[in-house]
């Protein structure tokens, strides 16, 4: 069987998304990727129950639109995959329920997928990176990874909150709507006055919580200065650990994936890091940086090369599921 058609369902946090990908050997073609995103009130974060309600309400329309846009029928689908973690429990369950229903009713093999691995695999598909050092930066992750011996290994990570949480929590404290990355980036561009903030690099790891508190007090004086200094400090810390890992591992490629990959200032800094180390820089296309069904779908398709689907009793969801515990055989 050369052509495999997969359906992927993502529902780990604020996004409910379905995507259809056609896989032909190593190539994948995204036929459709439909999303509906839960928006909490300005200044507030994701409420897991409200988010899961949002997912329930929009699951059927997103699914049918996804199938229609792909120009297929549900009977054409060869495998269905869903994000089984890590994420918010109530939200994860919705995606899993949709996947299980399709799987049992239409008798389609089902694959649980690690959401973080999804970011990486889709990034590799879309950028063409072959053996990259991966910087995964999102609301749920801030990790520096390299593939070795069947597993993604963590070279560095945050010791407390993630880069996405740092930006969102700071943005919300100023009344922005989550996700706040873009608002902060725009406001930061209006300032060039750097206010010294705590810079916390511990070997290959970073810590952002002190920075968050300190930035909030700067914001009382000037919001623009606070945004500018926050970005400069947090991204410089991130770039430094990337430099450390590149120099330690001598990897020739760096790939950045996850929601914060959309930030242009961060990409600019990392590009400079790569130039210095003679590594190639790959950023996942903006449209696929954030959570989407494609990342789940593609990873499920890769899994299906080496494994049959799991039985329905084993279609779990796990809120805590570290990607460095997943064995990769494809």
């Amino acid at each position: 069987m050369d052509n495999v058609l997969g359906l992927g369902i993502e529902s780990t946090a604020h996004t409910f998304s379905c995507a259809v990908i056609e896989k032909n050997k190593k190539d994948g073609r995204i036929l459709s990727d439909i999303r509906h995103i839960y928006r909490p009130a300005d200044g507030q974060g994701i409420h897991p129950r409200e988010a899961s309600r949002h997912h329930v309400e929009h699951s059927s329309t997103v699914l049918s639109e996804c199938i229609r846009e792909a120009g297929i029928t549900i009977h054409d689908i060869d495998i269905v995959s869903y994000a089984a973690g890590p994420g918010l429990g109530p939200c994860l369950r919705i995606g899993a329920i949709v996947a299980r229903s399709l799987s049992s009713f239409y008798n389609i093999p089902i694959y649980p997928v690690n959401h973080a691995i999804g970011h990486i695999e889709l990034g590799k598909l879309l950028t063409g990176a072959t053996n990259p050092m991966v910087l995964l930066v999102s609301g749920g992750h801030t990790m520096l990874l390299a593939f070795l011996n069947y597993q993604w290994r963590v070279f560095g990570e945050t010791l407390d909150i993630t880069l996405g949480q740092l930006l969102d929590q700071f943005g919300r404290s100023m009344g922005f709507a989550s996700p706040c990355g873009q608002n902060i980036e725009e406001l930061a561009r209006t300032s060039s006055n750097y206010v010294p903030l705590p810079y916390s690099v511990k070997g290959n790891d970073v810590s952002f919580s002190g920075l968050l508190s300190a930035t909030k007090s700067v914001a009382a004086r000037s919001k623009a200065d606070a945004c500018y200094s926050l970005q400069e400090t947090a991204f410089a810390m991130t770039s430094e650990v990337v430099e450390r890992a590149l120099s330690f591992t001598q990897k020739r490629e760096l790939m950045i994936v996850g929601g914060v990959a959309a930030n242009r200032r961060l990409s600019e800094m990392l590009r400079d890091v790569c130039r210095r180390h003679g590594s190639k820089f790959f950023a996942v296309p903006l449209q696929y940086a954030g959570d989407c069904g494609s990342q789940i779908c593609w990873t499920g398709l890769l899994e299906s090369q080496v494994k049959p689907g799991v039985s329905l009793e084993n279609t779990f969801v796990t809120q805590s599921w570290r990607l460095d515990s997943v064995r990769i055989d494809y």
């Binding site: 973690g85 890590p86 749920g140 992750h141 801030t142 990790m143 390299a146 070795l148 011996n149 597993q151 290994r153 963590v154 070279f155 560095g156 990570e157 945050t158 010791l159 407390d160 993630t162 750097y194 010294p196 810079y199 690099v201 511990k202 070997g203 290959n204 790891d205 400069e232 400090t233 991204f235 410089a236 770039s239 430094e240 430099e243 450390r244 890992a245 590149l246 120099s247 330690f248 591992t249 600019e268 800094m269 990392l270 400079d272 890091v273 210095r276 180390h277 809120q319 805590s320 599921w321 570290r322 515990s325």
Partner: protein
């Protein structure tokens, strides 16, 4: 001057000092970094590193001699250690040396120094002696939490870069470490290491 290594933080050049081979370590400006932040980081680390290189020798940890420091240009001229980084050695050798590395780290901690960047490339084997390098992130600290951060880092490095020999190297490291700091302190630090790991994102908290 010949560029020897383009490090994460600094560039290393081969040079001469008086009549001996020396290394010039210079922290270059990062274009991507805000200039004010950049100069603060470079200056602080240059001073810290040169102080620490001297301090650790006072309790018997081998480290390069410091010949000259210039905080303005963020550069240090130091003795060249012509050995090989532990990172590049054969796996069996790394396992064996892990015990000595554990002892060295134990000695640092016992004397109130946190290294801050414990990777296998920061230990150099030269004529049966291991030299410790790269003290730019080091701190004078007797806090158990800081010492645990050190151990967690080297554990992370073993787990990622030396995955195949992780368990034997880590055991040897801990044996060496315990031999120096004593079993009570060792147990305390190990507890803190798992506490820090438990704080990690999506860690399985049992």
């Amino acid at each position: 001057m010949k560029l020897v290594k383009r490090g994460a933080e600094a560039d290393l050049y081969k040079t001469r000092w008086q009549n001996s081979d020396a290394i010039l370590k210079i922290r270059k400006t990062r274009k991507y970094r805000n200039p004010l932040l950049d100069s603060r980081i470079k200056r602080r680390r240059t001073i810290k590193e040169s102080q620490m290189l001297c301090l650790v020798k006072s309790f018997g940890v081998s480290a390069p001699l410091v010949y000259f420091v210039n905080p303005k240009t963020a550069s240090i001229i130091m003795q060249e250690i012509p050995g090989r980084p532990v990172h590049d050695l054969a796996e069996q050798k790394i396992i064996k040396l892990s015990k000595t590395i554990g002892e060295l780290v134990g000695t640092l901690h016992k004397n109130g120094v946190m290294h801050g960047d414990l990777t296998t490339s920061n230990f150099i084997l030269y004529r049966d002696t291991i030299f410790v390098l790269d003290f730019g992130l080091a701190q004078v600290s007797t806090k158990p939490e800081d010492h645990a951060v050190d151990l967690r880092l080297i554990k992370e490095i073993l787990n990622s870069a030396h995955a195949k020999i992780m368990s034997s190297a880590w055991n040897n490291f801990l044996n060496g470490y315990r031999g120096v700091v004593g079993s009570t302190y060792h147990a305390k630090i190990i507890r803190l290491v798992s506490e820090i790991e438990g704080r990690g994102r999506y860690a399985q908290v049992v």
